[in-house]
């Protein structure tokens, strides 16, 4: 009985523990970013640290995986508040919509084709044997 309860408790705490791990790594990342003055955002340093930690551990962490999955499944939602911030820059948009749209269109087309062609060339037969 106690064992079952214990297990349920662990399950119930799973997401929270996962979140704690994420927040701790973010905290570490932010601290490193601030103290070392490296121009990389704190959460990104946290991500690299966590990747390194996972690589060192070499075993999956169920609690962390589930929390990460929940967060990332709704990743798109998290951009909405920042995206709405565009209302603050309508004037800027009005002034420079042409460059912005051109960059989006031409930049995307050139990136697609360049990446595709380079990869296709690299994966072609004479190279493949060596790589």
């Amino acid at each position: 009985m106690v064992g079952v309860k214990q297990e349920q408790g662990d399950k119930r705490l799973e997401r929270i523990n996962g979140l704690i791990v994420l927040l701790l790594f973010q905290l570490a990342g932010e601290s490193i970013s601030l103290l070392s003055r490296v121009p990389i955002p704190g959460p990104v340093i946290g991500m690299l640290l966590l990747l390194f930690a996972l690589w060192l551990r070499r075993r999956p962490v169920a609690a962390l995986e589930r929390t990460a999955e929940t967060l990332l499944r709704h990743l798109a939602l998290l951009f909405v508040p920042a995206g709405v911030g565009i209302v603050l820059y309508l004037e800027l948009l009005q002034d420079s919509w042409l460059p912005i749209v051109t960059v989006i269109v031409l930049g995307t087309v050139s990136t697609l084709l360049a990446t595709g062609w380079v990869l296709q060339w690299l994966l072609a037969k004479p190279w493949r044997r060596r790589l």
Binding site: L22, Q26, E30, S33, L34, R37, P39, I40, P41, G42, P43, V44, M47, L48, L50, L51, L54, W55, L64, E65, A68, E69, L71, L72, L75, A76, L77, L78, F79, V80, P81, A82, G83, V84, G85, I86, V87, L88, Y89, L92, L93, S96, L98, P99, I100, V103, I104, V105, G107, T108, V109, T111, L112, L113, A114, T115, G116, W117, V118, L123
Partner: protein, 288 residues
């Protein structure tokens, strides 16, 4: 008794409750609409939600700061979510190892092309420097892009919108365009989609063809992009870092006006960043 509608409205428009509820509700509705219509690329739920919420704010004359008072709870989760990206990245490491070198080279080319084209086009067409900086960060996945945009003195909100628009555009035209230009291997298409249109592109890739392993490769982008941006940043940042403490503290969620810091950054980045930035620009212009 006559209910005090005005009073209610005044109270609600100032409290965090309304912003948070509206964000979640409209996002949920956008997702349902998107699913109902068979996931057309142009109706991506994030774009719909942002468009609806932004028009709502303008229509009802609600200030962004008031909206953000509620929406910040969602926004805050971007930090932990960015850290959480390490988990899928770790899960993909094994698969990626086989194709690592060619894919890395191709992606690096893609990033350089994205950066150069953004800089070139924006400066040729005479975009504001603030806009140019915001555009530079556009090729990475959104949370990372926003952080970078803030770090190099752009506008995170503008970057977020540009990244989402790029993703949608790339995902819609990508497969057709590449097939027409002789790139037919689905694995290659997947990597290119991931490189140009990141998350949205990857989702589209999964939808068209289930060569999962190869499509998942886009996750390589993060460390790679970071390396490139870091090199760019490392040269540029000398001037900025003395004052960077206050900006960095503001990177995540804490600043309710996402843009209020930008003038500050502009002054701070003054000397070195501008010089190197323009050297890079001139160098690219010489190449044509």
């Amino acid at each position: 008794m006559n209910p005090d509608w005005d009073g209610l409205w005044v109270y609600l428009s100032g409290s965090p409750l309304l912003g948070l509820t509206a964000t979640l509700l409209i996002y949920s509705l956008s997702v349902q609409l998107y699913e109902r219509l068979g996931r057309p690329g142009y109706l991506h739920p994030v774009a719909t939600a942002i468009a609806v919420l932004a028009s709502g704010l303008l229509l009802f004359g609600i200030e962004y700061q008031h909206y953000f008072a509620g929406a910040q709870f969602v926004h805050f989760l971007l930090g932990p979510a960015t850290v959480a990206l390490a988990v899928p990245l770790y899960q993909q490491l094994g698969k990626l190892r086989q194709m690592a070198l060619p894919v890395a080279v191709a992606l690096l080319t893609g990033i350089l092309i994205t950066l150069s084209s953004a800089l070139l086009i924006a400066s040729v067409l005479g975009a504001d420097e603030l806009v140019q900086r915001s555009l530079l960060a556009k090729s990475v996945t959104t949370p990372v892009a926003m952080g970078i945009s803030q770090a190099i003195g752009g506008i995170p909100s503008l970057t977020a919108c540009v990244v989402i628009a790029t993703g949608i555009f790339g995902a819609v035209i990508g497969p057709g365009l590449m097939s027409r230009c002789g790139i037919r291997d689905p694995a290659v298409q997947g990597v290119a989609l991931g490189s140009a249109a990141h998350g949205v592109g990857t989702a589209r890739g999964f939808q068209l063809n289930v060569e999962m392993g190869s499509f998942a490769v886009w996750r390589w982008l993060y460390p790679l992009c970071l390396a490139v941006y870091w090199c760019l940043g490392w040269c540029d940042f000398g001037g900025k870092c003395e004052g960077a403490g206050s900006n960095k503290a503001n990177f995540d969620a804490s600043s309710s006006g996402l843009g209020t810091e930008n003038q500050g950054i502009d002054v701070l980045c003054g000397s070195k960043i501008t010089i190197l930035y323009f050297c890079y620009q001139k160098f690219l212009l010489c190449l044509i």
